[in-house]
């Protein structure tokens, strides 16, 4: 026996010897010639695992022979493909005519959008600054420091009263 069980293709759960798999495939295809064919024949005479694997492979070939190859797409197919190619080329050409214009337009739009964002953010900044300053002014406004302007005296009595209020007349 040339092959032990540990040489077998345990990973794949079948009994062909890994070092003979390529030759077995050739044998199945009928393309194995010369000394390799002799070597495999000698090996097959002593290895039941490889013999079984080869028989299985032959059955698989019969099984696969049931399947049919894909049908010919027909003479019209090449014309259809050429029509699609022409259409794609036309689309690409029309795209390439407008591409510089589209590119400039996109750049212009991007610059405009950027400027708009800058303006809006600047305006928002100013607005929020004025809003945040307002309470400070209100807090700082003290009647003692900036008194309300008095109304103009209407007559002589009013003048006297004003003087009395502001104590200007007191010595």
């Amino acid at each position: 026996m040339s092959m032990n069980s540990e040489n077998r293709n345990a990973e794949n759960n079948y009994a062909a010897c890994p070092q003979h798999e390529a030759a077995l495939e050739d044998q199945l295809q009928g393309t194995l010639r010369g000394p390799e064919a002799v070597m495999l024949a000698e090996h097959l005479a002593t290895c039941a695992g490889c013999r079984t694997a080869l028989e299985d492979a032959a059955v698989s070939a019969r099984l696969l022979a049931i399947a049919e190859p894909s049908p010919d797409p027909g003479a019209g197919f090449s014309r259809m493909v050429m029509a699609r190619i022409r259409q794609e080329l036309l689309t690409t050409e029309s795209r390439s005519i407008w591409r510089p214009v589209v590119s400039v337009a996109w750049r212009f739009a991007a610059s405009a959008a950027f400027a708009l964002v800058l303006l809006v953010s600047f305006d928002l900044g100013r607005h929020s600054q004025s809003v945040s300053n307002q309470p400070v002014i209100a807090e700082n406004r003290m009647p003692e420091i900036v008194p309300d302007l008095p109304a103009l005296p209407a007559n002589r009595d009013d003048v006297l009263l004003m003087m009395a209020d502001t104590s200007h007349g007191k010595q």
Partner: protein, 224 residues
């Protein structure tokens, strides 16, 4: 000199196949050059020559037949666009098939296509029918039998890992050679052979599990 004509005949016989291949290859290179210079008719001829194999390749990778035509059109469109960059160091067909494979994988990635899953197991009748087909002493004769056998095979293939399924379909159904598969998939020829052989073994494993084991039906459900 009796030896001279004999030698010449032998040489001619030995070279007859390569020469015809070489001529064919030269003709194709000429077509590619014409297509590269913008000759649409040349490109259309290239499509005509390769459309069936590209169809086979794409339908071997994609399972949904309805997507195949669209992807094949996309392949030829890409080939047309990038044809000027093709330097003819490799055969046009190899380059074309590589583009096809990449396009299929892109398509599957974009669409996130999941494998079709057949939940139903095979009936006893289907089992015996497929057994008959495989044992080769009862070949499926009627078209309905063949169609059913194909359907059963497809169900089993769906149980295989994606890589095994692709290799088996491309090799056994679509007729790509081991050499071609190695070039298309960027693999060593021996690697392709080993993978193919293992894929066959896995197919047989699925076949045995699905056909020869009794269906796992709940016994109580049947009895009740």
């Amino acid at each position: 000199m009796p030896n001279v004509p004999k030698n010449m005949a032998a040489t001619a016989a030995a070279l007859s196949l390569p020469v015809s291949r070489r001529e064919k290859g030269e003709e194709e290179r000429q077509l590619v050059r014409l297509a590269q210079s913008g000759e649409e008719a040349a490109f259309e001829e290239l499509i005509r020559r390769h459309q069936q194999r590209v169809f086979g390749l794409v339908s071997g990778i994609l399972r949904r037949r309805e997507d195949v035509e669209d992807v094949v059109q996309q392949v030829f469109l890409k080939v047309f666009v990038s044809l000027k960059r093709f330097d003819q160091r490799a055969a046009f067909s190899t380059w074309l098939y590589k583009i096809s494979v990449n396009e299929c994988w892109d398509y599957l990635r974009k669409k996130k296509v999941r494998p079709l899953v057949y939940e139903a197991d095979l009936s006893e009748e289907q089992v015996s029918r497929l057994d008959g087909v495989v044992s080769a002493d009862q070949p499926a004769t009627s078209s309905s039998d063949r169609a059913e056998a194909r359907d059963l095979l497809e169900r089993m293939m769906e149980k295989l890992p994606e890589q095994d399924r692709e290799l088996l379909v491309l090799k056994e159904v679509e007729g790509f050679s081991v050499q071609e598969l190695a070039e298309i998939l960027d693999l060593n020829v021996n690697t392709v052979k080993v993978r193919l052989f293992r894929a066959r073994a896995r197919l047989m494993d699925v076949y045995r599990r699905r056909l020869h084991s009794k269906p796992e039906q709940p016994a109580e459900g049947k009895e009740g």
